[in-house]
Symmetry: C2
Subunit: 361 residues, 2 copies
């Protein structure tokens, strides 16, 4: 594996990850780009005890461009995309329209009344291109390519964790127009947040209580062990990974995938665990796509430990979920989910797991 | 106002609320209906410390029927809808496909492994028809009709709060196909939950801390006072109500509407407060619809106090939010929001408030 760091015309970083150790990535960005956009800010909500990011410049971001203008395809002699190379394996670059940025330092956040704190939206947002093939999907990648993507996630998690202000690194993929994806080229994103995210805080509060009540036991490990023992909701397993539909799935099709050994984050995975991830995850995605014979819309989200706190309570896992509840029918987050946080799932988790296991690959 | 309780052919309750004190609602349901569907269940998620409802029978619910088969329109001599009357003002009935039901008593929930508790999905789900006019919208109702809807919400909140197992009553409206509405007829819903909802628990935890740290002060009252003093985000106000875009709005267009006096729930509103609600809320909705000249999709959600706990910490308020961020563009909940709970808002709350104030009515 070779890692090459370059910069785009506006100063943003671009990093190539190549399978071939002799790859040369000398192409320059020929574009004349404006400077990165103005800052975002984060605001503290005293009622929900959460930070919210306000990023008004993102209203103008690229929205479903025609495929011959795809900014994630390689450049050609006559067209410059976000990636100057004429071909690539995996490429990671700073998002041109970031929700969070380490370039926010000079901005003074506005004064807000009363109880609402506000700060610059420190952090970093990156785009991860999984392949140069515009018409591929993650599910169609080779295991070798998935292994390279894991290396990229590990590299970026370690590097972003070391940035000032960063408290948590989130690697994820949004797939499908049904969940608002604005670029079809197979890609994921990485957010480096300047706080521990609300969901992670809730999970860690539960993990802390569980450890206190059960002699230091790890909550996630105990849930995983119970699911492995029950078996009814397990969809895929191998020596190093277990993927199951949680008994409390919130989405019609939701799969949680844990390494069998407790680790805090992707950089902590062993080489053998990284190797074993690819076939297991590809099988999960192919079973999802096989459910209705369509490319399923999904969100795939890595839950990693915070950078500085509670790493021993954490347990790396991947949450994959789809809003597709039947052919042609999506689950929407309406009043109960969006306003009250109460999920109503129309598909029994046991039935979802069985349907996923029965997909013929 | 006259209130008439009747029953549908399968035993579900139907309640008419009429402006005319002499209205007679003697029409019988002529349909031959199967018994109410099998039970739902609720499952406790030990990782997120939340209950999730599993309601598999809802997969077969009515989905965008043609308008001449609308189940919420009045019946005619040749067609029976969910409402036997040939005309009505406001009608409330038990949902035919409920996520929660008090008819769940005889069902034994399945055994789940380890840490996941499970119980019957006790509770109740009701449908509130705001008008017999299929093509109306809440924003087009008269103030008198809105006043009658408030009476219906107050009545149902009080009655459902008295049911066994019920811990919180949630009145809401989902509007627009963009958020998954399956029936166009103007209607809202009421969920009576057998637990305090996750969002309410988080708000009350904040309110509890705030009271401890500020000599018993009410968190919501302090936020409201700060917004009223700042004024910058206030959209509509009158003697009894204040509607503002919160400084930490999560959605492109989000408005919180509080009575100026702290009350726990709708039944606690005075007659004057109920009277003053209609013009203020209608103005909020009409300003929303005026933003882009379209009927905006929205969720309108009443945050009421739990039935049995923390009523003194609570403060009734209405949260109205839309995912429409620009003409033809929706905000989707993608990885950051759905998996991590971190909202990225592309519209500055101060700008949203100004745009709403500038709409010409």
């Amino acid at each position: 594996m070779k890692r090459t760091v370059t910069h785009l015309a506006d100063g943003r970083e671009l990093i190539y990850f190549d399978d071939n150790d002799t790859a040369v990535r000398g192409e320059r960005d020929r574009r004349d780009l404006p400077p990165p956009p103005p800052a975002s800010e984060i605001r503290y909500d005293p009622i929900l005890d959460e930070w919210v990011a306000i990023a008004a410049h993102r209203q103008t971001r690229t929205h479903l461009p025609p495929s011959d203008e795809c900014p994630l395809c390689p450049s050609t002699p006559t067209r410059s995309s976000e990636i100057p190379a004429y071909d690539y394996d995996v490429a990671v670059f700073e998002n041109r329209f970031p929700s969070l940025s380490h370039r926010n330092g000079s901005i003074e956040p506005p004064h807000l009344p009363g109880l609402t704190d506000t700060r610059p939206g420190y952090g970093r947002c990156e785009v991860v291109c999984f392949t140069s093939d515009h018409n591929a999907s993650f599910a169609s990648l080779t295991p070798e390519r998935v292994r390279l993507v894991v290396e990229a996630w590990a590299d970026r998690t370690a590097e972003l964790s070391a940035l000032p202000h960063v408290e948590q690194v989130f690697c994820f993929e949004n797939r499908g127009e049904a969940i608002g994806v604005t670029l079809h080229h197979p890609h994921g994103q990485i957010y480096a947040y300047p706080f521990v995210t609300p969901r992670t805080r809730r999970m860690l509060a539960s993990a802390h209580r569980h450890a206190l009540e059960h002699g230091g036991a790890n909550l996630f490990a105990d849930v995983l062990a119970a699911e492995r023992a029950a078996g009814e909701r397990v969809v895929v397993r191998n020596e190093h990974w277990t993927a199951f539909v949680p008994a409390t799935a919130r989405w019609p099709y939701e799969i949680h995938m844990y390494p069998n050994r407790q680790v805090p984050d992707i950089p902590a995975l062993s080489a053998a665990e990284r190797d074993a991830f690819a076939p297991a995850y590809l099988e999960v995605l192919r079973r999802l796509d096989g459910l209705f014979g369509i490319q399923m819309p999904y969100i795939s989200a890595w839950h990693q430990a915070p950078v500085h706190v509670d790493r021993d309570l954490s347990y790396l896992h991947l949450q994959v979920f789809s809003s597709q509840r039947a052919p042609g029918k999506l689950k929407y987050l309406a009043g109960s989910e969006s306003a009250m946080g109460v999920f109503i799932n129309d598909v029994r988790p046991e039935q979802a797991a069985q349907r996923l296991r029965e997909v013929e690959l």
